[in-house]
């Protein structure tokens, strides 16, 4: 059966994991869509590993204009430190991944996969903290104040926020990161299985 790995299977999986991880530079990690009657097609904000963009080049500016009515802080991508150092973390993980192909040891594959999964989880937690901060840390002089209302977008899923219906889901880059974790595990599994067969 095809499930019996040979000596190079783990290396192929690891290479595939590194290639998948490179996808975080090609696609946004996450997409937040704001839907309202006046915005046909919705406003799409894309969170990348190193920048924030959207369905058009002025999306951040236009979302900031809308957000200032409820006293939300303006999003200034250039002042979010994570967008500066996350790319280096990703490069580092890709380098460590390539090193794994050379080392080709079961413990190393396990270490790499666990490290990537942990960093991914921390990244999502960090994203959650930013969303929480944007949603709760509101200007007390905001023109529109709804008692008891906070505006934290969902981390994953959909939610009504005043006139907007907000959808938040991983984009292809987020999918690529998930795939890299799965492939990292696959190389660990393949090496482990191969060693057992010997």
């Amino acid at each position: 059966m095809a499930l019996s790995p040979n000596s190079s299977t783990s290396r192929w999986f690891q290479l595939a994991a590194v290639i998948a991880l490179a996808g975080v530079f090609l696609f946004p990690l996450w997409q937040i869509t704001l839907e309202a009657a006046q915005f046909p097609g919705g406003l799409q904000m894309h969170i990348w590993i190193n920048k924030v963009s959207g369905s058009d080049k002025h999306i951040v500016k236009n979302i900031n204009i809308l957000n200032h009515y409820i006293g939300m802080q303006a999003i200034h991508p250039e002042s979010i430190p994570e967008l500066k150092y996350f790319p280096f973390v990703a490069y580092g993980m890709m380098a460590l991944g390539l090193l794994g192909i050379w080392i080709n040891k079961v413990w190393y594959y396990g270490f790499w996969f666990l490290l990537l999964a942990t960093l991914g989880a921390l990244g999502i937690y960090d994203f959650y903290l930013w969303l929480y901060d944007y949603g709760h840390n509101l200007d007390p002089k905001a023109p529109i104040k709804v008692p008891g209302m906070s505006y934290m977008p969902p981390l994953l899923g959909e939610k009504d926020l005043l006139n907007f219906y907000v959808k938040s889901y991983p984009h292809f880059g987020g999918g690529a990161l998930g795939l890299a974790v799965v492939l990292g595990f696959a190389s660990f599994w393949a090496k482990w299985k191969f060693n057992k067969m010997q």
Binding site: H58, N62, I65, Y69, P143, I144
Partner: protein, 672 residues
Amino acid sequence: MKFRSLRMCLPVVLLLMLHACGGTDTNQMMEGDAAQQAYVAPGEYDEYYAFMSGGYSGQITAYGLPSGRLLKEIPVFSQYPENGYGYSEETKPMFNTSYGFVPWDDSHHIELSQTEGEFDGRWLFVNGNNTPRIARIDLKTFETVEILEIPDVAGLHCAPFITENSEYLVSGTRFSVPIPQKDVPIDTYKENFKGLINYVTVDPEHGHMDLAFQIEMPGFNYDLARNGKAISHGWSFLTTYNSEQEHSLLEVNASQKDKDLMAVVNWKKAEEYLEQGKFTERETSYFHNLMDEGSGIVNSTERSTTRILDPKECPDMVYFIPVPKSPHGCDVDPTGEYIVGNGKLSADMSVYSFSKIMQAIEEENFDGEFDGIPIINYEAALHGIVEKPGLGPLHTEFDGRGNAYTTFFISSEVVKWDVESKEILDRQPTFYSPGHLVIPGGETRNPDGKYLVAMNKITKDRYLPTGPELAHSAQLFDISGDKMKLILDFPTKAEPHYAQAIAADKIQPNSVKFFDIESNTHPHATMGESRSRVERNGNEVHVYMTAIRSHLAPDNIEGIKLGDRVYFHLTNLEQDWDVPHGLAIQGATNAEILVMPGQTRTLLWEPKRQGVFAFYCTDFCSALHQEMSGYVRVSPEGSDVPLKWGLNEELHNDEEAALDFQENARKLAHNR
């Protein structure tokens, strides 16, 4: 107005018609599914844009077809306080002419730019009748971006007819006058009055217009024109009336001859003569007003020479053909072979054949000459006569299937006939008295023969009454079948003469949503709220103001004095679709300005009283639009109130800091 004289005989003719037909029940004309055909569901788009001239309004209106919904009024030849066109400092020069600032005109004929005989959706041209001018509208922004005055002519009715690759806009003078102008008795018309046919080039890349040459013609009234296409490309055809050369009571005296003359111009030949230098250069004065794309500022320049070609010295360039009695339109079919002369006082319509005209010229089959211009033998050039089609034929367009459709003003109907056989196929009444009609692409090589709109001159009882002055009425017909079918009746803004309609997909994808603020090169633009400021230079004050939802910056200004001229330069910092901001100031004696996202516009305000005056945004831009306002304090002349401004802060005066900021930003932008 052109049809005034005909209106007088109308009641009699209408009565005769009604009597003869026993009346027409218009309700019965609408067939069962007609409403369905003209229905465009909420959220759906129309299939065509129809651009209608505004006649005495001086503007253009854009309608959707088949719904008949008004999409926009485009200000062209008349000041438009609604958005500040012609009032803002940027757009005022658009109205400069050799007569000074002329804030109104009479727009008649719409011409869309063409490439290889088809509409390309780039520009729209329209004539100003009274102070002879041609305007260009950019169809990316639906804005008037250029106006060129035509020198020495009077009443530029016969304009601006386009050639099949937009090489030229051809026009002729409606009223002949002394050229150049001089103080002579009016009854010396025959010896002193002349006409001109004008050729204006269109730059294929930017659309800029330039007067190439003028042909000096006998003093007739040049009425309408068309240019040849396909086989007849390179030729222009212009109808004339008043070949009697009368100067008073024209309705009688200019209607005496059985036939007037149609001018046939070989413009390729004219180009050769121009090349050979066979023109005379004449001193004159005319204005060219062009909007700069980056700043939106209109630059106005006076030009002083024109090149005249004289047919007497340039043989084989101009011919005449007799055409029945006081013609209006002369229309060229999609093949370029047939030319229809609509003799408005004639019982029959003459259809000419281009190849027969060429043959007659070849064989010198002439019937004398007028002022040295050979008159081609009428019968030799004739394809045939459409017999008794109706009364008062004005204008013909084509469906691309070999059929022609002609409006009849006096008998108030549209008649469909076969161009080849001249046989009448169908007739439908219109309500009432149509002038022009339009079929999408109906004057091009490739008409889209699906709909026809008849634009009527008389409205009367078609809609709920609105006092003595009424909107005009238009009827939309489905012409895809054998018989024309009335599917919609809709009022139009005054007063469409001609219209052209174009498939929406040739315009819609190019429509600009907002101006890119990084491309704004306006010298008084304010690139960011922190750079907003007030500068004084003698009694001239410049307010560098920004607008973004939902505030103006600065919104408190002090230190203005009576006698100041205050220029509010408002930059709209938004970069999103459909977020204009406006500015109105109490006591402004001009208008408001409406500023599109990324754009800068300037309103001049001259305070008349001391006190504190409010200004505010006029476009309901956002939920806090009502809060988008401010105050300006006006002190007496010679007062020592210092110049200060601010937004939500203590008023300050850090002009230098703002200027440094601006200067550095400019440098940065320049280096990038």
